[in-house]
């Protein structure tokens, strides 16, 4: 004993303590938090998904549609209903018996379309409800905030409706994935259509929502409209939720511009478009041409609010229920039969994200976030409504067809508001993930 004692001097003890401290600091979550290999590893017969959608606030209706889609996805994953897109999905790993033999359950949170509220609800679902992953949302600001929280917490984030380049650009994270398209793709898809319909000699005036998505959208449309020879006369930032846009529209009338680009979404889009039409912009002739309006990002739910004013106006969208491919038809059939109306693009992207996550877990044989990341990176699939799709490993962005749509001149029903003008193939909207506007660092995956 005495000999043993004499071997441990003060210096050795200090070294040992430091080494243990370092080991504890560097050790994975499972050494410090019980026996789990990763955060919220399911141990029972079920696994819990966390659906974080706006249930209150201006995007509550869009959030409600997302939630409907998630509930449908859970039913299909558990073998209830008609199976929806599981029947058309190119990967056949999911058999309608849950995921990895576990029944899928879910918990929901309210993002309120506010970054802090969304982070709080995601945190609650991870820490209290044991959510294995978080998905949903209807705003880029929220998506970026929740994505970074999920990265820190060590769970996967499958983004809902978020269109800013930054989500998979400078703010990309290894644990985050986006199926929805972005402003760069909208610009790339709309550019040739604007050229074909309105020519090369045009003067554009931008009204832009003054926040991250608006700036991203303005930049992309400027890039692609100037590339086809259009001149940007002015780009005016408008406060989010301005309500009455008349003070911003009246200067357009005498600006010499012959195209108005409305980089607005949701309520702002409804209001600015309605008011632009009221001011007679669409009946106006400038520089010997008809004045035109372009809405780069359309949402059918919101287009309902703008009524007749959307007729003939070009824009882009991620997906539309009138698509005739097998996958889209299967989804519309399942959703329509359950709820009595067709799904929105927000519902579609959320449903697909839930299935893609489940499929990745099934293929990986684990819910470990790092295994899921590996399964999703570079994953190619089809049958989900957008044609052949790639989840690019470099930035976790999906590349697939982008739809150019136009407000329907002769709608046959209250849902038939948009008409698909062109399905722009994925290769036309693919960009370099290391370009100046997109460069970011995914970092390492975090399993908690």
């Amino acid at each position: 004993m005495g000999g043993f004692k004499s071997k441990i001097d003060r210096r050795t003890l200090l070294k040992g303590t430091a080494a243990m401290g370092a080991a504890a600091f560097a050790s994975p979550y499972f050494f410090t938090k019980g026996a789990s290999a990763y955060v919220n590893e399911p141990t029972g017969s079920s696994v819990t998904f966390g659906f974080n959608v706006p249930q209150t606030g201006a995007y509550a209706d869009e959030g409600a549609d997302e939630l409907r889609a998630y509930q449908l996805a859970v039913e299909h994953l558990n073998g209830e209903g008609d199976g929806g897109l599981l029947n058309t999905f190119s990967s056949k790993e999911l058999k309608g018996s849950g995921v990895l033999g576990k029944k899928v359950e879910f918990t929901t949170g309210d993002t309120q379309t506010k970054s802090d509220a969304a982070r709080a609800s995601a945190k609650r679902m991870i820490e209290k409800d044991g959510a294995i992953m978080i998905t949903g949302g209807s705003s880029s600001g929220v998506a970026i905030a929740v994505q970074s929280l999920c990265q820190e917490a060590g769970v996967i984030f499958m983004a809902g409706l978020t269109h800013s380049n930054d989500t998979t650009g400078k703010d990309r994270r290894r644990n985050g994935f986006r199926h929805f398209f972005n402003t760069e793709m909208s610009g790339a898809a709309l550019g040739p259509v604007m050229e074909a319909n309105y020519g090369n000699d045009r003067k554009a005036y931008h009204l832009t929502a003054d926040y991250t998505w608006g700036w991203s959208q303005e930049g992309s449309i400027k890039k692609y409209s100037e590339a086809i020879g259009w001149e940007t006369v002015n780009a005016v930032r408008t406060p989010l939720g301005a309500g009455d846009f008349s003070q911003y529209i009246t200067p357009v009338l005498n600006s010499g511009a012959d195209v108005l680009i409305l980089n607005h979404y949701g309520k702002d889009m409804v209001n600015s478009l309605t008011q632009a039409v009221q001011f007679g912009l669409r009946d106006k002739q400038v520089n010997g041409k008809n004045f035109e309006i372009v809405v780069p990002l359309y949402s059918r739910l919101m287009a309902q609010g703008a009524g007749e004013n959307v007729k003939g106006i070009f824009g882009s969208t991620n997906w539309h229920w009138s698509l005739q491919d097998e996958g889209s038809q299967a989804f519309v059939k399942s959703f329509g039969a359950k709820y009595g109306f067709p799904p929105s693009q927000a519902a579609h992207t959320c449903y697909v994200q839930a299935l893609l996550y489940a499929d990745a877990a099934q293929r990986a044989g684990s819910f470990n976030p790092c295994a899921i990341v590996e399964a999703l990176e570079g994953f190619e699939f089809d049958g989900m409504g957008n044609g052949p799709t790639l989840y690019r490993a470099d930035d976790h962005q999906c590349f697939k067809k982008v739809l150019v749509v136009k407000g329907n001149e002769n709608p046959t029903s209250q849902f038939d508001l948009l008409e698909v003008v062109q399905e722009v193939p994925a290769e036309k909207v693919t960009y370099d993930p290391t370009g100046d506007e997109f460069a970011g660092d995914l970092g390492a995956c975090n399993a908690g």
Partner: protein
């Protein structure tokens, strides 16, 4: 020159909406001394009167198609408004005029809402501090918003102006320069309508016995009470009138801005600024400040003004001009433009 005229017109138009709401706020504050944060919700309720009337008029008969189906396999619904089914073209005309027709329903409805609000809730807070009045009325506004959202959803609901006043008026053509100055017909209608409502409220207060008593009550409530006049009852009716003014402003605004449950809150903050700039308790002050701030806001957005400002390094002034003017006015005239001594002091 055309651009300046256009902005003046637009400013007056924006100011008209501010003035109408601020007028109601000032009426309530001037008579009852209550800071009513639920006033925006009254504007919103008015707007949803128009939505409700429109929904009622466009109630549809649903028949199922025998030949066509929806994308999800159920028979296609063929919808025809009952009004059209029963009255033919006359029914369609009624639907076309649903916004102005809503006024007929909105007046009694808003009067009742105003009276119920005052008798049922606000009167219990007369002797309480302003902070508590603000809290309770703000809470009421949130409750009303959530009720409307539960019924109508969160998305804006488009309301069309009658087809005869849709589109834009070519004012320039009147002066021999077609296309130089165009302005939406409905906004012109709104401006005239606001003028009529404001004039009616002033005439009512100025030229009727009821108005005279109310004005006397505003000046010295106690003395009027000592004369044996039930001033409380009259003030309740004034609350109702203020609610009607806000409601009518809301009804007529729906074709300009598709209403949603939050539309009142969007206006409320600006309207309080208008009231403070005009002078607490001053009716002409509220109206004048409404138009003044509307015009200033409009001018700050002019391209020429923005260009000059950006050259000296100022951007985004249009977004804060109202608050900037409020600060300057309050520094120079702490009681506002036409504020009376002793009010809120």
């Amino acid at each position: 020159m055309d651009a300046i005229l256009l902005q003046v017109l637009n400013g007056l138009d924006k100011g008209a909406a501010y003035a109408l709401i601020a007028l109601g706020l000032t009426l309530i504050f001037g008579t009852l001394g209550v800071v009513n944060f639920a006033h925006g919700a009254l504007f919103m309720l008015g707007a949803f009167c128009a939505v409700t009337i429109n929904r009622a008029l466009t109630l549809e008969k649903v028949a199922l198609s025998e030949t066509q189906t929806t994308a999800w396999g159920t028979p296609l619904e063929i919808r025809t408004p009952y009004a059209q089914e029963w009255f033919g073209d006359f029914g369609l005309t009624i639907i076309d005029y649903s916004v102005p027709l809503s006024i007929l329903i909105a007046i009694p409805f808003m009067l009742l809402v105003g009276i119920a609000m005052e008798r049922g809730l606000v009167r219990f807070f007369y002797k309480r501090p302003h902070a508590e009045q603000i809290l309770v009325t703000f809470g009421l506004a949130i409750v009303l918003q959530e009720i409307v959202k539960a019924i109508y959803g969160a998305n804006p609901i488009q309301q069309d102006a009658p087809s005869i006043v849709q589109g834009a008026a070519d004012i320039g053509a009147l002066f021999g320069d077609p296309g130089a100055l165009v302005y939406p017909w409905w906004r012109i209608v709104y401006l005239i309508f606001s003028g009529v409502v404001i004039a009616a409220v002033f005439a009512f207060l100025q030229f009727t016995t009821f108005g005279m008593v109310v004005r006397a009550g505003m000046a010295d409530r106690e003395t009027v009470g000592l004369l044996g006049i039930n001033i409380d009852r009259r003030f309740t009716i004034v609350f109702g009138i203020a609610a009607v003014v806000a409601g009518l402003a809301g009804v007529m605004y729906t074709p300009i801005l598709p209403p949603d449950y939050h539309i009142g809150m969007d206006f409320l903050v600006l309207s309080f600024v208008v009231v403070v700039v005009g002078g607490m308790g001053s009716l002409p002050g509220a109206v004048a400040a409404g138009f003044l701030l509307g015009v200033l806001q409009s001018f700050a957005s002019m391209t020429a003004v923005r260009d000059i400002l950006s050259k000296v390094g100022i951007v985004g002034l249009d977004q804060i001009i109202i608050y900037l003017v409020a600060i300057v006015v309050l520094l120079v005239r702490p009681r506002g433009l036409m504020g009376r001594k002793g009010v809120m002091e």
